[in-house]
Amino acid sequence: MSAPATAATLPATEEAVTVVPLRRAVGALLRKDLLVELRTLESVPGMSLFALSTFVVFHFALNRNSVEGDLATGVLWVTLLFAALLGVNRLFVADAEEGGVDGFLLAPVDRTAMLLAKELTLLCYLVVLELVAVPAFALLLSVPFAHALPDLLLVLLLADLGVAVVGTLVAALAVQTRARDLLGPLLGLPLLVPIVIGAARASSPLLVASHAGTPAARWLAMLALYDLIFGLIAYAVFDFLLED
């Protein structure tokens, strides 16, 4: 196949040459990430196993067979948070070390596609993690919340969105540094404190056997606000992390 258009027919238009729509680009990136994860199983199994082990450690550390209320909340969110950070650490590693972000940068796509795709990837990891960890939590530590499940799912969703946004940003920052495995959690933990606050306060009334309450609206609102603000910030600054 010979080279296409000569100089005379080259378009000199003003608008961007974004041949590929955002949705398609995000789809392509997401598929690639999930496919790589399926093949290498580097993130999700590790995250899940880590969560299970942590519950066991908590059993021994707290010397309890069952937890409820604030104690249950604490165990659950600390475990989920640290398991999530494991996934965050690996989020951009395959791209930085093998695939090369350059290939993406040269394609006629909006760079936001990478941000969205990675956030969705991390979100998928978190959902799978929770599918394993939350039932295990109920089982291992006899936590009673079956009746409050829908509310708990809502809290989990809002928290996951926040972790996905901040985690992606932190992962992108950390992957270019020499001490990437250390800096990821160091950057991520303070930034995620508001999520812990909101998620813990919201789910605390749910994890009780008798007279379980509903999550106070203010915590859900706080989580949603956090997700929105950081979603916008990530959108604004992400491009600057990709270029050279």
């Binding site: 940003l169 920052l173 270019q176 540094t177 020499r178 001490a179 800096l183 160091l186 950057l187 933990l189 303070p190 930034l191 404190v193 508001p194 606050i197 909101g198 306060r201 203010r218 915590w219 706080m222 606000l225 956090y226 603000i229 950081f230 910030i233 990530a234 604004a236 600054v237 600057f240 992390l241 270029e243 050279d244």
Partner: protein
């Protein structure tokens, strides 16, 4: 470029600090409940306010850096954040002293401002490790700016979140700056101004020192570069003495387009 005005700023700072000290020790009345210890309020709260403003300012400078690509904004952002981190540490220490004096504990979770400061401090403490673990200087500056913007936006969010979460065991004397009687308000204001001037002066010092060092290095480099170029011309890559005049002119002159 940063040097001018440094002396007058320093003088103003000294004057303000002395004035603040005088007012704190001789003018402001002793507070009924806490006595002499309460005077730490005049140091602790201005430190807190200035540190927070500094962090937000660092974020604003970072935005300017990303928009203009001018490295000077990055330098300003770095210095301001660096200084704010020190002021934040001082905030934590003075807050802790006050807590110990007032309630007998070196740390209290019930004071939302203090708790928020701890989180913010932990976050910004990663700023320098982040910077210095990226080798490429341009990338380092860019990533630092992204961090400064994210963290700067995080500061208000964090304060709201912690405030919501705190259980108030005691009335918030530590943080409340409203409803201050006249003499206290004046003292507080002067302290605040003194702290702001101190911050500005220290930042200016650091900016001047760093900027001078960079200029010196740039001059040294240019000198070395010119010397190297003169040497390079002597050992040009064209071995034949009878190369075409056009080509040797190009080699000597650094090459025009063919």
């Amino acid at each position: 470029m940063y040097g001018k005005g440094l002396r007058s700023l320093s003088i103003a700072t000294v004057v303000a600090v002395v004035a603040a000290f005088t007012l704190v020790f001789f003018y402001a009345p002793l507070e009924a409940e806490q006595g002499f210890l309460q005077k730490i309020f005049y140091v602790h709260v201005p430190l807190a306010i200035i540190a927070l403003c500094g962090f937000v300012l660092g974020g604003l400078f970072a935005i300017a850096h990303l928009r203009t690509r001018d490295q000077r904004w990055d330098l300003r952002s770095y210095v301001v954040i660096h200084m704010s981190l020190i002021f934040a540490l001082a905030t934590l220490i003075t807050g802790s002293i006050w807590a110990k004096g007032s309630w007998g504990h070196w740390w209290v979770w019930s004071e939302p401002t203090l708790v928020s400061f701890l989180i913010v401090f932990l976050l910004y403490a990663t700023y320098q490790p982040l910077r210095f673990s990226i080798e490429d200087p341009e990338r380092q500056a860019r990533y630092a700016s992204v961090f400064a913007i994210t963290a700067g936006a995080f500061v208000p969010m964090n304060f709201i979140a912690v405030r919501l979460a705190s259980q108030y065991l005691h009335p918030r004397v530590l943080g409340s700056t409203s409803n201050l009687p006249g003499p206290m308000a004046l003292t507080f204001l002067v302290s605040l101004v003194a702290m702001a001037l101190l911050f500005a002066t220290l930042c200016k010092y650091e900016l001047t020192a760093k900027s001078t060092r960079f200029k010196l290095r740039a001059l040294r480099r240019r000198l070395a570069g010119e010397q190297a170029q003169r040497g390079a011309r002597r050992r040009s890559a064209v071995p034949e003495p009878h190369s075409s005049p056009a080509l040797s002119a190009r080699v000597a002159g650094g090459g025009a387009s063919t």
